[in-house]
Amino acid sequence: MTFDERYFDIGRLDRLSYGQTLVHRLDPRAKVIATFLFLLTVVSYPKYEIVALAPLFLYPVLLMTLGEIPVRFIMRKVLFVSPFAVFIGIFNPLLDPGTFAVLPGVHVSAGWISFASILLKFALTISAALLLIATTSFPGVCHALRRLGFPALFVSQLLFLYRYLFVLAEEAMRIIRARDMRSFGRRGTGMRVFGRVVGILFLRTVDRAERVYYAMLSRGFAGDIPSLRRSRMAPADLMFLLLMAVFLSGLRFFPVTEGIGRMAQEMFG
């Protein structure tokens, strides 16, 4: 993928948030809290857990279906950041070689199990976070955080990050295009030129920051980014949170997967 294509792909995530489905219409705060609970539940499972994590995929799958979010798009994004998780877990099989289970003919070491567990937890958490943004929009999440009591400074930093990411990417794109147009073959694309490109980008950013601050002052900025309250927790939102809590604690505190297995055994065995 070229730089240009990658840049335009960023915009797709928030275009998805323009949707008008049931999931999109939930109060952003409810979704933020639900996602937070979900993440907490996922990471609370012990190191060697695989089986009990499986039913948790119900949440992202439901959200994707009800929110009409394309599955392949989310999966691509999850794959895109997966190297982080892989590098965290890749040495587990070497460091933790004790036999954990014996399948017919193969000894499965504990390290492989914990590696698989890391990957599952990663897929669950990242897809939940992506779905939160895809159904709520990034600014929606920021305002929800502010109203849930996060510090103003923190939230405004996030908002600026989101706003100027695109401007900065465009700026970088222009500089890189200008470089490519005048560098023939290998010449001009080396490290030294790259260093200067980064330097110029930094200087332009500083200049821009100053102009933006001037613009903010001109419109009466005094430290906090104000926002209009545009939503109220409706019964549907509370219902959603309640269901979420029941679903998560049910999975966490009762051996649901095992139960299903037993039931299947009794029915067919």
């Binding site: 706003r163 821009r208 102009r211 001037y214 613009a215 002052l217 419109r219 900025f221 104000p226 209009l228």
Partner: protein, 244 residues
């Protein structure tokens, strides 16, 4: 109403690096006047505009807006009165959606929710961009962005509107719409631009800045037809007045 006045009295300004950007600028703009500020690149137009709401304070001399001299103390009060529209809308448009951006100013003025909503909708209607209200800025075209930038300043209901190169980056049709829009505003207007045709259309008075001084000040019709004056200041006759 005589309070929508901008007056520069012998204003000097020196940048920290020693560049003398303004060297004794004096003029007085009265209520409801629309004034074009023209001059070569680097003549001091932007510096001049930045003095109007106290972003820069004069090294010597005074700037008076309404009946208040612009000082570090009166800046906040002045900024309610003078709305500045910047050259690059990306610098001005810093909130995540159009609605939030236009609401930023009124919310900072401490208005309640209903009043803010009303002002935002009115300002967006004025620049006929109401249907953009939920869009994020990176999905807008340049013309749409500059319309929103104007709305965001209009929503603060300033007495005086100052604009830096408002038609830069606009296609001819958006530029024409902007000119039509500017003509409907009854604020005191100050427009700094190289687009002399725009100034000729919108402003009845024109100030020529050169080397940090006021070189000429008079009716646009007279100044913008004075070929030798314009050429001495790196300008030329407005295209509409040039014979081919």
């Amino acid at each position: 109403m005589s309070h929508h006045i901008v007056e520069f009295k012998d204003v000097f300004f020196r940048y920290p690096d020693g560049t003398e950007a303004l060297r004794g600028v004096s003029f007085r703009i009265t209520h409801g006047e629309s004034v074009g500020v023209v001059g070569a690149n680097g003549a001091g137009k932007s510096t001049l505009l930045q003095h109007m709401n106290g972003y820069l304070l004069p090294s010597s001399g005074t700037v008076i807006v309404g009946d208040l001299p612009v000082t570090a103390k009166s800046r906040r009060e002045i900024r309610r009165k003078v709305g500045i529209v910047f050259q690059n809308p990306d610098d001005q448009f810093f909130m995540p959606t159009v609605f939030d951006d236009v609401a930023f100013g009124p919310l900072n003025l401490g208005l309640d929710e209903a009043a803010v909503r009303e002002r935002v909708l009115r300002a967006l209607t004025t620049v006929s961009s109401l249907d953009l209200q939920d869009k994020p800025p990176h999905h807008l075209s340049c013309g749409q962005k500059s319309a929103v930038a104007i709305a965001s300043v209009m929503a603060m209901e300033p007495d005086i509107l100052a604009m830096d190169e408002p038609a830069a980056n606009l296609d001819p049709r958006s530029r024409r719409l902007l000119i039509g829009l500017l003509k409907t505003f009854r604020h005191s207007k100050i427009v700094a631009s190289h687009d002399l045709d725009l100034i000729l259309d919108v402003c009845e008075r024109c100030i020529v800045i050169g080397n940090g001084r006021v070189v000429a000040d008079g009716p646009s019709g007279r100044i913008l037809t004075d070929k030798s004056l314009l050429e001495a200041n790196s300008l030329e006759l407005p295209l509409s007045l040039q014979r081919r």
